[in-house]
Point group: C2
Chain length 551, copies 2
């Protein structure tokens, strides 16, 4: 084995992109880039898989076959079952596989992982259908988020790992002058992997949020157990299958990357996470479980938990463009993105536009109308909002009427001509006062938007900052035409380690973090302790050990 | 201000050295390199300081002046007092200083810190006397460890920080092609410092173990509170003084780096460590307190705790050379180094030398004789063993007779013609069996050496590995002429993240870790969670935050 010239070029271009942080994509986001036949082949594969056991994985001797995915679009079970294994089996296999994988050279690991990504590419359309019918994302979002965007993020962490592993020379002749003589030592520097990694997936982004951890742990020599959310297994099962197939083709233990499917009535996550063989845990999901993961003794953890993302409205060049941008950002996938804006801080005195001031009530109305406009639009509605992944989210939407808040827009069904039975909810918009922190200090996951009337922008910034410090945030959108105010917002938000997106309008939204350029989550506030992909994201998965030898 | 060409060159050469890991020293270790006058000036400064308040620090309005250092050589108090401050004062000043320091550019921070190191250089001889008469190290060891070696380590972490902070561009124009149009964003990437750093020093290496954390926190924009051990304040006070003087000369708040001297009857370490303003803690010292530090919620910690370092004797080219090397390594500074070998694993069947086998009893005798030879030598004895820093260490030595072990060499006074009253102890050597883990599984800090009779080398390796996994280790020395055995030892020890020094003889000892080349502590086992200086050592002190702006 060796790292082929073509694959080495892919890795090197990715490393360059990470350093430059200009636009870069190894996998184009447009479906047309993948050929005329690809959509049909992907759809056929998806249809053929429905109602059957998922046979692609190479893991041997499951104790059962289980599956419980239900399409949020058809509300029918997908009927796919996955192999189930005892925790002990998974852990023993992972430990044995680790002993093999750690000895594989960094170049060979890179070869295998790039090859796997190149194979996954041919399954982007099947992945898109699988993602749509487990997460409720629209088809195009499913395609992009689980396909090219996820593979770019996987490549990003693979490349970051490759760079860090090659940061120091593997062998050095060290010679210390001592007057007329010298002391000579042969030194060897090794990046020793920590052990078995566990990647705990979420139901809404089963691939995008899992592959960075999978590829980061694998490139650094750790074996990986992938524990998907039992309601979103199919998409990531395809990725694990492709990794296993490349491992097999190279004569390696396929258990270097295992899928650990479980079921809602027999969840195995805690058993895996607490097992002493597991040294690294990647986690995406709610804060309570994330806090538990972070505090298991003896683990290196990478978490992305919940946050309360803010929008600060101070002044605008064109309110219409701003409202258009924000209403779309808040509606996209019905607010089921960790990056979705939730709390909109608007000064009671209104928002400046050029020399005039648009009154608070007018800003509010413009935003409510724009959100309602999207939800009620026959094509844009379902295309933007998608479907609701979980019953729990629907219940949360229903329960907001019990909150002490003024309902500006009540939730309702989103008409979907293609999938009339889809589980949907148009966004609910609530209005509260700045003093009602009890209402807006929690992440209200799903299509729930809060307009918060503040005394002025200073109070908006102060509240937004407090939310980040206490509850975390992954994004902050701010609109101001005043340079000083912009600097102030940036300074305050970065002091709690939240990135600011200033004055976004047009075809770019605060929810989107681009691979190779935007850090996703900073790791510096309660929204999570890791970042896709800063150097620590890979370097914490191994330990530098230097040996010395007299000649 | 700006980073001068000369200082930039110092930083760039250091970064290059870190990457290449060949021999490099910015500060020569030979005292003669610092000029003919330097020794006299340093001694005069030291003598002039004795019995007086330490007035060099620029911190204002202390509530008291206190000091309790006693020379382990003369057994007389140094009589130096240091300014004492309320914890609240230290913390408020550090917080305010942080707000100023974080805004200073990375280049300007580097300029200030390199300049401070260049000033410290002129005080190496005073530092050497100060170190000798607080730690009990010999003069030459005091000079090297607290002078050039420490400054090289400080420069190493400064340079590593400088490199990481410049890893990504501060500004980027990002343009994403979207068919006929494109989306443009101006992006800004900032390394945001975490807050106030606390550096907790130890009594035996007051500068060497503290400056990496001080310089790493400062270069990354954090203000620092330096909390020395109350028995070893003088050496690090000089370093803090020089940093403060450069800060003042540049018009900056001198509280960016404060000394927080306390006294044994009113220790303030926990109050400082638990204060919410303190975000980063660097700690060197015992494991119990280190474990406490690591578990304070909400802190980023860098610890160097205790470990049980092993020597594995399998086979040798020349036993005499090996015994000479090991007896010196075990005697140096009376075993008061975190890197000192403690547990010597020797196979009951003896040690192979070429075609012959040297019986266990003979190996044992050779080693005991060599250690006794050093201790009893009128010059080499005091020059190698130095003095004992703490009464507690003497008590520990006295108490070993209660252990269930065979005393091969009893402790005694080390004659010191220059300092007849010095607190000394020649090494005690105990012999135990492989099954007596209760005796050898603890760090017995000080001049206590254990010979452990094992069944064979496999058992030696297995026990050494078990010690690292359970109790940590910073070094492991191994002697074998068999390549397979060498590979086996390296594999086993690196699996618990302990570095191996193979077959060291001559003028190089397992205790010595060279700046810019050897990682000191791996961070991967219970001996500590940090490493001088891997990339994480600096990157964990700040958070990458990326802002975006529509044009």
């Amino acid at each position: 084995m060796a790292l082929s010239a073509a694959n080495k070029e892919i890795v090197e271009k990715a490393i360059k992109a990470i350093h430059e942080r200009v636009f870069y994509a190894q996998y184009p986001e447009h479906p047309k880039a993948y050929g005329e036949d690809a959509p049909g082949i992907g759809l056929a594969a998806f249809n053929n898989q429905l109602g059957k056991p998922f046979k692609g994985l190479l893991q041997q001797n499951p104790v059962a076959w289980e599956g419980e995915e239900v399409s949020p679009y058809t509300m029918k079970p997908l009927g796919i079952t996955y192999p189930v294994f005892e925790v002990d089996t998974l852990v023993v296999r992972a430990g044995r596989a680790f002993d093999a994988w750690r000895k594989v050279s960094v170049d060979d690991r890179a070869e295998i992982l790039v090859e796997a990504l190149e194979k996954v590419k041919y399954r982007f359309f099947e992945i898109a259908h699988a993602t749509q019918h487990s997460t409720g994302q629209s088809f195009i979002m499913s395609f992009q988020a689980s396909g090219p965007h996820a593979s770019d993020r996987a490549l990003e962490s693979l490349a970051a790992g490759y760079e860090e592993l090659n940061r120091f020379p593997s062998k050095v002749e060290w010679e210390k002058p001592m007057g007329k003589t010298s002391v000579k030592l042969s030194k060897e520097f090794k990046a020793i992997p920590k052990g078995v990694g566990l990647v705990i997936g979420c139901s809404t982004f089963p691939i995008w949020n899992s592959v960075p951890g999978i590829f980061a742990s694998l490139i650094t020599g750790n074996s990986v157990i992938v524990k998907p959310h039992p309601k979103s297994v199919y998409p990531i099962a395809i990725v694990v299958e492709e990794i296993q197939k490349v491992l097999q083709a190279k004569g390696l233990d396929i258990n270097i990357c295992q899928l650990a499917s479980d079921s809602s009535n027999n969840l195995i996550t805690k058993k895996l996470a607490e097992n002493p063989v597991v040294k690294i845990i990647d986690y995406t999901g709610g804060s309570a479980f994330g806090d538990y993961v972070e505090h298991i003794p003896g683990k290196t953890t990478f978490t992305e938990k919940a946050g309360v993302n803010s929008v600060i409205l101070d002044s605008v060049a064109d309110l219409k463009a701003v409202v258009q941008n924000l209403s779309f950002a808040a509606s996209l996938y019905s607010g089921q993105m960790c990056t979705a804006p939730q709390n909109f801080f608007i000064p009671a005195g209104g928002v400046k536009q050029g020399d005039t001031v648009i009154p608070y009530e007018e800003v509010k109305k413009a935003f409510v109308d724009a959100v309602a406009g999207i939800a009620n639009h026959p094509q844009m509605g379902p295309g933007t909002l998608g479907a609701i992944q979980s019953e729990l989210t629907l219940k949360r939407v229903a329960s907001v009427k019990d909150l002490d808040a003024n309902v500006l827009l009540a939730p309702g069904k989103v008409a979907n001509a293609e999938f009339p039975d889809a589980r949907t909810s148009s966004p609910v918009i609530l209005e509260v006062d700045a003093k009602d922190t009890g209402v807006f200090e929690n992440e209200l996951f799903g299509p729930i938007i809060l307009l918060i009337k503040t005394k002025d922008t200073n109070q908006s910034v102060s509240l937004a900052k407090e939310m980040v410090a206490k509850h975390g945030a992954i994004t902050c959108a701010a609109y101001t035409t005043n340079e000083e105010t912009a600097d102030y917002i940036v300074h305050e938000m970065e002091s709690v380690f939240a990135p600011v997106s200033l004055n976004l309008t047009g075809n770019i939204w605060v929810n989107q973090h681009a691979g190779f350029s935007d850090f996703h989550v900073t790791g510096g506030n309660p929204a999570g302790n890791a970042s896709f992909t800063n150097p620590e994201y890979v370097s914490k998965r191994f330990v530098w050990v230097g040996h010395r030898r007299s000649n």
